[in-house]
Amino acid sequence: MSVLEVRDVKKSFGKTEVLKGVTFSLDEGEVLSIIGSSGSGKTTILRCINQLETADSGYIEVAGEVFFDGKNKKEDSQTKRKKQLNVGLVFQDFHLFPQYNVLDNVTLAPKLLAEEREDFKHNKKQIFAEIEEKAKVLLGKVGLSEKLGNYPCELSGGQKQRVSIARALIMEPKVLFFDEPTSALDPELTGEILKVIKSLAEEKVTMVIVTHEMSFAKAVSSKVIFMDNGVIEEAGTPEEVFDNPKSERTKAFISKFED
């Protein structure tokens, strides 16, 4: 069953048309990698799905909920926010909250959300304890059990990015998006992030990854999209796109990454 539907999404910034009609879908448990050169619109489509940008036209649906409908754009911020809970986004530059330690970075959002629960007043302690427990499990999974009390400024880039992955995971998004998660990292630190994403793929977390790590994309994805100049130039399985690209542009792009 498709958990993400993107249909003919267009978006311009001023006179520059960044997305010229992008269409794709994703099934539960699938991992989609979006590759392409800078300025091809990869990040913009991610930002449109995550409601950080409003598309000009088209249709976006996540887990059966209409995220964007070009024919009916009006929407209050409260419904937008509620819908946003279906998806998670990991940023290139982490964007951890500097004044909170690692554990609090992960628990902040779920704790705030819990305040809206009807039983919050009676079970506050228990609810918070559960959230903290869950956060500790997730942080253990990304290898940061030792760092719970540390502040972001005390962490390496790779550690920061792993915190931000845990922070996104605790909200249990139906689809988790990564916007070039390793682009701000040294090659050395890139490996640790890719390992985490790989383990998530094995657990069948539905993910969309914008990346420049070609060999990683090939290994981890069930689907690959090559974007060029605001359109999907080629889409298919990793074997199809990487080993037998049909389009000349895809060929040219991929050959740049081969040693």
Partner: protein, 231 residues
């Protein structure tokens, strides 16, 4: 007049200086916030009004603003508002200068609120958009993002410029003597005029220095306390 008597007399004046300082800070600091939000408003007319207001208040000398607040009600409405307040407090409570001090407090509060608002605005605008976006994608409301994520980072960033402004404020209180409010320098000048004593005028510097010294320690401590994170 003995040294002790002079000290006591100047201290009387310094109490007024501290009163102006304290009230301006307590009222001006929060008042700066709506002015900051006004001048960041997405609604152009509102934004322009606030910008022009801040421009005027920061653009003319504070001394002139004290004169304007003090004299304009009388000129416009033929009603000596602050003079009446003066009289009322003298008659009812035996308190001197109440009306003049009120005029000074109004002028100072508005003036400093505008300066503070620019510091707030700078602080708020210096927080990266990524912080707002990170909060939003985690399902937080706008007010949660501001209260739980943005505010503390802003506070950390504005403490140094605010410290500067606060230190300037205590020295600016001397301007109150332009409408004859009996703050410390006015008292020292009175000694010069009536007793031909010049040295108390210079002696007032010690009062300011001591107070600024205490302020500096407190403000540095605040800055240090907030330095546990780096944004």
């Amino acid at each position: 007049m003995s040294f002790l008597e002079v000290t006591e007399f100047l201290l009387e004046g310094f109490k007024i200086s501290l009163l102006i300082f304290g009230v301006t800070l307590v009222l001006g600091a929060p008042l700066g916030l709506p002015i900051a939000f006004g001048s960041m408003s997405k609604f152009k007319p509102i934004k322009s009004i606030f910008k022009v207001f801040v421009w005027i208040v920061r653009g003319i000398p504070l001394m002139l603003q004290i004169f304007i607040i003090y004299y304009v009600p009388g000129l416009l409405f033929n009603f000596q508002l602050f003079g009446e307040v003066d009289r009322y407090f003298i008659v009812e409570y035996g308190i001197m200068d109440a009306g003049r001090i009120l005029a000074v407090l109004i002028a100072f509060t508005i003036n400093y609120a505008c300066y503070f608002s620019e510091i707030y605005r700078g602080g708020i605008e210096s927080i990266s958009r990524g912080q707002y976006e990170a909060g939003f994608v985690l399902g937080m409301t706008k007010s949660q993002v501001f209260k739980k994520i943005i505010l503390k980072q802003v506070i950390q960033r504005i403490v140094p410029p605010m410290s500067n402004e606060i230190i300037t404020l205590i020295k600016d209180t001397a301007l109150a003597n332009c409408i004859m409010v009996c703050e410390i320098i006015k008292n020292a000048k009175e000694l010069a005029a009536t007793k031909a004593m010049i040295w108390p005028l210079f002696y007032t510097g010690v009062f300011y220095l001591l107070f600024v010294g205490i302020l500096t320690i407190v403000l540095n401590k605040t800055e240090k306390k907030l330095s546990y994170f780096r944004s």
